[in-house]
Amino acid sequence: MGFRCKNLGVTYKTQNGELEALEDVSFSVSDHEFVCLVGPSGCGKSTILKLVAGLLDPTTGTIEFDSKPAGDRPRNAMVFQEHGVFPWMNVLDNVAFGLAIRGVPKAERNAIASRFIDRVGLSHFIDSHPHELSVGMRQRVSIARAFVNDPEILLMDEPFGSLDAMTKLVMTEELMGIWSRQRKQVLYVTHDIEEAIMLGDRVLVMTGRPGRIREEIEIPLARPRDLRDRDKSEIVKIKEHVWGILEEEVRAGLRGQHEPS
């Protein structure tokens, strides 16, 4: 199920007056599409995810979901940067949480949750609490929970941002494996340009605050992709192009004044 964001704007009220986080953001995600959002830090990438998830209401603009009456939101699942797993629940209860909320009987939800825990390689830790797990393992719990909820739209906020490079590669491959089987719509936030290009069908490059979509880039790579092969000339070309845009934005941000382009 695709969706369209139209002219989204978000303004926060702070003690120093109003802060414009997003300005006139429009884009769409079509069926089965994997879309990545990249941009300098603080540009409102996470805010866009929260808007799509319905955790935040836009100050201006609307989001339209296919085949849903206005105001109705399809089931979505968000994978947060960190703090996404409850420290007071063990792995099983964390993963089964969404099912428990929907009133799925215990035996059934534990069976479903166990299947996904197995898929992210945590079956030996099913009774462990998060403080007994590494950061990477906790992120896997988050991902398992998101998939268990069987979302129509998957929202991911730098899910592997806190992982080391090797774990990140393995986890990303795992994610692609799960995704290619289920083919959900994914909106994936990252500040890693290479990651965005390797994963996305399309990459949306954002400006510094207030965040706007500066450019949409189609990624013409065939699937399944080999995530380890990052030196192909076409990938390098896209990377340099995206980096060129982002460098401008980051430098503008460092100067503390963003010139609208």
Partner: protein, 259 residues
């Protein structure tokens, strides 16, 4: 084993060593009459008195009167304190409305409200218990409020993203997330309840550890005076152990939240 690890293993033995050393020191200087043993009886004499009071006297009666008072008072004040603290922690509006009142009433010494409470509820058991309740209300309220407020906002987002209702957020996020702080409040609340119970008993009750302290003082039975105070200290230790058991049982995940 590193030196630090050996040092860490020693820690549990240090409190008993300090206790025994202090007691031996007191025993020596009182037996030698460096301190007059009439006013400062040797620890062994106090222990003997404590034993006699337990087996022959009415110490256990008085002890149970105090414990019942402190527990009833604590539950009567602590539970409303916890509920209100949860509301104030969760809702900014409620917090902003009630916070000035809490700030004004919290520092008032609770024992000083006893005369007013007696005017309203008479001079019986009810008044004495209500003072204890008022005293344990605030530590529970303030700790619960802090406990709810320190829950990371992302947990609320996660719950909402999974479609949780407000009641489900309360049950799965607010309650478990604030439990370590609530238990810290239980410890503070029980301690305050104990001191206020003793104070009330000193003033006007006919039964309880405080009463016993006062009676021992009035009749100049100094050894009983000390023995009763030791009993109060033992109640304090029991509170500590009880809360630790609750912590181990309820929040094994919060290893850092030791009270």
């Amino acid at each position: 084993m590193s030196r630090r690890k050996i040092a860490e293993k020693m820690i549990p033995f240090i409190p008993p060593i300090i206790l025994i050393a202090t007691l031996s020191f007191l025993e020596t200087i009182t037996r030698m009459e460096i301190l007059p043993s009439l006013f400062f009886p040797p620890p062994t004499a106090v222990m003997a008195t404590l034993y006699n009071m337990t087996t022959e006297g009415a110490l256990l009666d008085h002890l149970s009167a105090t414990v019942i008072r402190l527990l009833t008072g604590f539950l009567l004040g602590g539970i409303p304190g916890m509920i209100l603290g949860m509301m104030m922690g969760w809702s900014t509006a409620i917090r902003r409305i009630l916070d000035p009142f809490v700030a004004a009433l919290h520092p008032v010494p609770k024992i000083s409200s006893l005369p007013i409470i007696m005017i309203i509820f008479g001079i019986g058991f009810v008044s004495r218990t209500i003072v204890v309740a008022v005293a344990s209300f605030f530590p529970m309220l303030i700790n619960t409020m802090a406990g709810v407020r320190q829950i990371h906002p992302i947990y609320f987002d996660v719950a909402r993203n999974c479609g949780a209702s407000r009641l489900q957020v309360l049950r799965h996020v607010v309650l478990p997330g604030s439990t370590p702080f609530i238990l810290a409040g239980v410890r503070l609340g029980l301690n305050v309840s104990l001191s206020i119970s003793l104070a009330v008993e000193l003033l006007l009750a006919d039964k309880g550890i405080g009463t016993l302290i006062w009676m021992a003082w009035q009749t100049m039975r100094i050894e009983e005076l000390y023995a009763t105070i030791v009993t109060a200290a033992l109640v304090g230790i029991s509170i500590r152990i009880f809360v630790q058991l609750l912590l181990n049982r309820c929040v094994p995940w919060a290893t850092k939240a030791r009270t």
